[in-house]
Amino acid sequence: MSKKNFFAFILLIVAVAAIGIYWSNKTAAPDSASEEKIAVISKSGTGFSQHGPVPNSIVRLRTPSFALSLHPLKMADVESRQIATLLHGGLIFQDDTGEVKPILAESWTHTDNEWRFKLKTGVKFSDGTPVTLSDVVASICNAMQPTSPWAWALKSIRHELTEDGKAVKCSGLEIDGEGEVKIVENRPSAALLDALSGPAGWILPANASEQPYGVVPGIGPYKVKEIVADNRVVLQAWTGGAIQPRVETVQFNYIADDSVAASQFLTGQLDVLDLTSPQLVDLVVDPTTKAPKGGGSLQQRNWDRVRILIVNKKRLAYKGLTKQQIRSFIDAYASSIDRKRIAELSKGTAIPLTSPYPPVPDITAPSKDPSALPIAKLTILTEPDAYSDLIAASLPSAVGRVTTDYKGVDKAVLIDSLVKGNFDIASIVIEATVHSPDFWDSFFTPGNPFTAFGTPIEGMQALDVQTEHGLRQAGNLIVEEGNWIGVLRERRLEAVRPGISDILFSASGQTNYAFVSKQ
């Protein structure tokens, strides 16, 4: 090759690199070098509504999915919820210790089955419009409608179904003469405050128009500044809401791959990282100090996220098992799972779950003799990630003459199979409210939509799961007739870099970054 051609090639490479540099700079995220902290706001003892200068700092977080739906009544995934908790708020917030903090409510009173909330004045939605009592009533009533995913959480509030069954009249919600919101329950529910703390209780403008990605104005401490698809969601401080922001910017970077996320955390590009799998724990946590490599701390919380096996009774019957044999298989399989070993594999991110009905933790499936089971081959559908794969591989491969193998499929395919009943056994993760019996009860109550994932059990409707006796009876019924096998209850483990504080958790263990601050 001549010198001329050689230099021409070098020129080409330089041109390619120049294009890369230009483009990289064009799409780069905000520069961390420009961060400067100018003030520190301390948490108010009476809530989070103190106004003042917002520290000009940025907190970087990870979102492992870019299937965004930030509308409180359309959220289906935990990732969207994490982002939405910074945009929205409700009357109150109940943390994982059970302490209730005021958000929009200034004060409240509670007598028997009636709650009265007095609102703070001067609170505005992130579009600048003032919050009214009507907005509060309309928001909660919208969340009670059959088209809302949170209707089950608010079903203790007095309501009447319309004749066509497509709507409910919220008779338990009203504005009283003293300028308070009154909530009347049919029967007191222990989970109501938790429900009002989450998306079910978030306040939206009565006539909110929805923007792309489900963005609607909220009363949270941040508003959406920028959404770059498949890249990042940038939130900007909003001081007119019910919660005072502690940092100027919160940025969620879309990072699908665990090892990339771990690498970014360890090199300071992320401030907090959810360690949702043993692989991430291996990558981030120093085994001797039990702290993140390179500094920071680990935060661990109980979390209402459980891994269960759902057995498709109809499919097993189709494969020739009698009703008695199916029951026998479920019990024998449930008792042959070495949950302790699987929990050890989780490296601190899970504990054994021996109950098919999480609100009743001490019920274990009685061991049955599997020798009478016929020859059958069953497939366990599971999600394709490495952690789910590890768990599925650790499950028993045979019970009596029934053998099982497993297949990893995309989550949407898994849910689709569940809805259509096109599976033998499904291994799924449910993020819900373990301590809300109403939720679990709904999987086994005839006529409830969630029974697509459970099995209708007659007699469940007659039980009052809000009482200790009713809960125990429900647990017994599910152990005897249910199609669920508990495997693990996951624990939330978060690696937090130095200087980051005030990450809160809801009563159900969901992370709430609304109060996050950075020193």
């Binding site: 059959p146 498949d230 990072i255």
Partner: protein, 290 residues
């Protein structure tokens, strides 16, 4: 001179519409968009009805009509498909452009440098070209992460971009260089080359002469390379965590986002068709029958 391109144009329009129609049929095999969007709540009939109201299903005729009116529908995120495609393409275009330049450079270098005897590097090129398109980005990512953790300093987006460009180009570059080497070696042994050499032409003059033949002959391979580049985007961008057309396509399939899938199909089919037309025009320009 341009007798063939009109035929190619007709074929191309047919191919684009055919790909669009086929994608519409195949989308039916994916899980429902509502299931992807609503997860566990998709068992709620009321919620499903509300979802269907927000995202009314489009018939094939609607989708086909949209091609001519420029309305490609909306994504599950409520964004216009055309704006999503524009954004993603503008992100991927520099990557594709750089890869294309790299491929052209490799092709040119090989043509000017390869000896007229068989080279062992040709076998290496064949082997690399045989590897699946996800191998290079995975290896590149592993290397990046290892370096990042070893030095303890975050690597910038530019480094990721460079790895993306290399990952996109490496398979195609290997195949292209192997093909270029074969054609050039054959041309160097041809009577035409020998007579030019005998007439006293320098090595550089000879190579320039046979470069014209190469351009015409390598056309079909280059066409496949361009298609291969687009296909490699579907692996490289999601693996390296970069936004762009490949990541958009992966998201569209994972979420069963029908309008977006149809839009992605349309872009890919159009891209293939335009490449085909250009290559066809070049070959006709060189007097070669298609």
């Amino acid at each position: 001179m341009m007798r063939k391109p009109p035929t190619v144009l007709i074929y191309s329009v047919g191919a684009i519409l055919g790909a669009h129609g086929l994608a519409y049929l195949l989308v039916g095999a994916l899980p429902q968009a509502a299931v992807s969007a609503l997860g566990l709540f998709s068992a709620n009939e009321h919620l499903l009805a509300a979802f269907a109201q927000s995202f009314p299903p489009r018939t094939y005729l609607d989708a086909l009509g949209g091609l001519f009116t420029g309305d490609l529908g909306r994504t599950l995120d409520g964004q216009a498909v055309t704006s999503e495609l524009n954004r993603a393409l503008s992100e991927s275009a520099p990557r594709l452009g750089a890869s294309f330049l790299l491929l052209a450079g490799v092709c040119f270098m090989t043509a000017m440098w390869v000896r007229d005897k068989s080279s062992p590097l040709r076998g290496v090129g064949d082997f690399i070209a045989f590897l699946p398109p996800y191998v290079a980005p995975f290896l590149g990512l592993a290397l990046l992460l290892a370096v990042q953790l070893a030095i303890g300093v975050p690597l910038t987006g530019m480094v990721y971009e460079s790895v993306a460009v290399l990952s996109l180009s490496i398979g195609g570059g290997a195949l292209l260089s192997a093909q270029t080497a074969r054609i050039t070696q054959r041309n160097l042994r041809s009577e035409y080359a020998q007579s030019i050499r005998a007439a006293g032409a320098t090595q550089m003059q000879l190579r320039r002469r046979i470069l014209h033949n190469l351009v015409a002959e390598i056309g079909p391979t280059f066409e496949k390379m361009v298609v291969g580049l687009t296909a490699a985007l579907f692996f490289v961008e999601p693996i390296l965590g970069l936004g762009g057309f490949g990541t958009l396509a992966a998201r569209a399939v994972r979420r069963s986002d029908i309008d977006l899938i149809l839009g992605v199909t349309l872009v890919v089919a159009s891209f293939v068709a335009v490449t085909r037309i250009l290559v066809s025009a070049i070959r006709v320009g060189y007097g070669m029958n298609e």
